[in-house]
């Protein structure tokens, strides 16, 4: 996911998702956002390892 996006965009998305996650109380939403954050972190790690 976001493989085509710029590095800056992925970082911005990650910051946004983390902020949203701090507001969420619903467990289903929290789980979904955690997965999204994991995907974004994974993408950043992938790029860092390239």
């Amino acid at each position: 996911m976001l493989r085509e996006a710029s590095h800056e965009l992925v970082r911005t998305e990650l910051a946004r998702a983390r902020r949203a996650a701090t507001m969420v109380t619903d467990p289903l939403s929290a789980g979904s956002l955690r997965r999204y954050i994991g995907e974004l972190e994974g993408e950043l790690h992938r790029r860092a390892g390239r």
Binding site: M1, A5, E8, L9, R16, A20, S29, L33, Y36
Partner: protein, 489 residues
């Protein structure tokens, strides 16, 4: 579309007008006329029509950029998981008050006792006592019993019901996918066409937006339409996950009592402004102008209220898309915006909403720019921005002067077309502080935003060409060589 010469003066009003295009307004000539009448951005409703006709409309809007030397802004509004009942034998039935009416999976045409409901998710989520609203709330059913194959209801408010009418389920959260197959196809098409904003309908949860963001990949900004009670309960989470918000009062007013919509509108506008996201107020703003060349006084007051609340944009729906008076509707929005913003109380009223700056250099400078502009009677705030972030921060402060946005990115200039108070110009990036100041002065003069002798405030980030580095605020008077050569690029 680089900045060269004026062919149309910058808008004097700060609120933006978003006009929906449709059969009444989608020819190239009419789109140009709407733009000249005051439309700042155009909405394409993906619920109607085919993709080929939408591509032609998008080409016509982009042609404005050459004609008027101004970035154009396009919002593609996805249909979303709109719930609808199936068809009836004869196309129409009459539901009697107090009668029993069942919704099921049977594809055969319905009658006065039953109809197909092609959304299995509702059968699992519904509860006895919940209401089902049909045809924009004109008919009301109350659930008495249900299982996985049928929902039995009593008709509380009856009336005529015809094929494929809309259904609202206000009392339960239906776990619908945020994007239908049609939405995914329309989204892919819209991104291929290079639209600037994608509007997501019936948002209920922040993960709805996360799903859309994965698909959009930064190719467009994402606007969340707030039209479900569930979204109201989770407003801040949703606003955080989007780039802009629409107060979609149509379905909101169906699922909630109409008298609860005005306070919710104020709450949504306030939340979006506080969190620095542009907010559009939409639906039935000048409804009577679908048929009449002039609005009711109440409609004018409604539009004015949205402007006094500090909304970034006000939207026309059927008035400009399918009405008899599309140009007059846009001109009326334009006139109301001008009149309200000339009111000496306007500035005080829009600052009822306190937009506390985030603890960042860029936010501190944006807040300072607003205050300095008022103190030294500056003519404009001029900002250099790559992503548009600095422009959004300044606009959030709702300064009393125009915001001239200079960006090397055409996409940024286009997206900012929904933002309060900005005039957006695409221009080459600057390399030095001296070049920054000179360019700011030249373009302000050329665009007619400042005159000789005026003070302007210039904001940028040093080192140049580094996104997110806004750290310079410079107050400069428009004197010097730029007065002689400002017409040259």
């Amino acid at each position: 579309m680089t900045e060269t010469s004026d062919t149309i003066a910058p808008r004097s009003r700060k609120v933006r007008v978003l006009a929906t295009l449709g059969p009444a307004s989608d020819t190239p000539e009419m789109i140009a006329t709407l733009f000249q009448a005051g439309a700042d951005a155009f909405r394409i409703n993906m619920s109607h029509g085919d993709q080929a006709s939408k591509a032609q409309i998008i080409r016509s809007i982009r042609a404005l950029e050459e004609k008027f030397n101004r970035p154009s802004t396009i919002l593609a509004d996805l249909q979303g998981p709109k719930l609808r009942v199936g068809k009836f034998d004869g196309g129409r039935v009459m539901l009697e008050h107090g009668s029993t009416f069942t919704l099921d999976h049977d594809p055969t045409p319905g009658d006065a006792t039953r109809v197909r409901l092609p959304h299995r998710e509702i059968f699992a989520a519904i509860e006895p006592g919940a209401r089902l609203l049909l045809d924009d709330g004109k008919l009301v059913l109350r659930v008495t019993d249900h299982d996985e194959n049928r929902i039995v209801t009593t008709v509380e408010i009856g009336g005529a019901l015809s094929d494929n009418k809309g259904l609202n389920v206000p009392d339960v959260v239906v776990p619908m996918a945020a994007l239908t197959e049609k939405d995914r196809s329309d989204l892919s098409f819209a991104l291929e066409q290079g639209v600037d904003w994608i509007a997501l309908s019936f948002v209920q949860r922040p993960e709805d937006l996360a799903e859309a963001r994965k698909l959009i990949q930064g190719e467009a900004a994402l606007l969340a339409k707030i039209e479900k009670p569930a979204a109201i309960e989770r407003l801040e989470e949703i606003v955080e996950m989007c780039d802009g918000v629409m107060v979609a009062r149509g379905d909101l007013g169906v699922e909630l009592p109409p008298q609860s919509v005005p306070p919710l509108q104020k709450r949504i506008v306030e939340t979006a402004r506080r969190m620095g996201r542009p907010v559009v107020v939409a639906t039935q703003m000048l409804e009577s102008m679908i048929q009449s060349p002039s609005p009711t006084r109440a409609e004018v007051s409604d539009v004015a209220t949205a402007i006094y609340d500090g909304a970034d944009a006000i939207m026309l729906s059927a008035e400009s898309a399918a009405g008899a008076w599309p140009v007059e509707s846009v001109a009326m929005m334009n006139a109301i915006g001008d009149a309200v913003e000339r009111d000496p109380m306007h500035g005080d009223r829009i600052h009822f909403t306190v937009t506390r700056p985030d603890p960042t250099t860029a936010d501190a400078l944006a807040e300072s720019a607003k205050n300095i502009a008022a103190t030294v009677s500056a003519a404009a705030i001029i900002c250099f921005t790559s992503s548009g972030s600095t422009a959004r921060r300044i606009a959030r402060e709702r300064p009393s002067v125009p915001i001239l946005v200079l960006t090397p990115n055409r996409e940024t200039a286009r997206r900012l077309g929904l933002l309060w108070g900005t005039h957006n110009v695409v221009t080459r990036d600057v390399e030095s502080f001296e070049e920054m100041v000179a360019k700011a002065k030249r373009i302000a003069l050329r665009q007619g935003i400042a005159q000789a002798g005026d003070r302007v405030i210039v904001m940028a980030g040093v080192p140049f060409r580094t996104p997110g580095s806004t750290n310079v605020l410079h107050v400069v008077r428009i004197i010097g060589d730029e007065l002689k050569d400002y017409r040259r690029e």
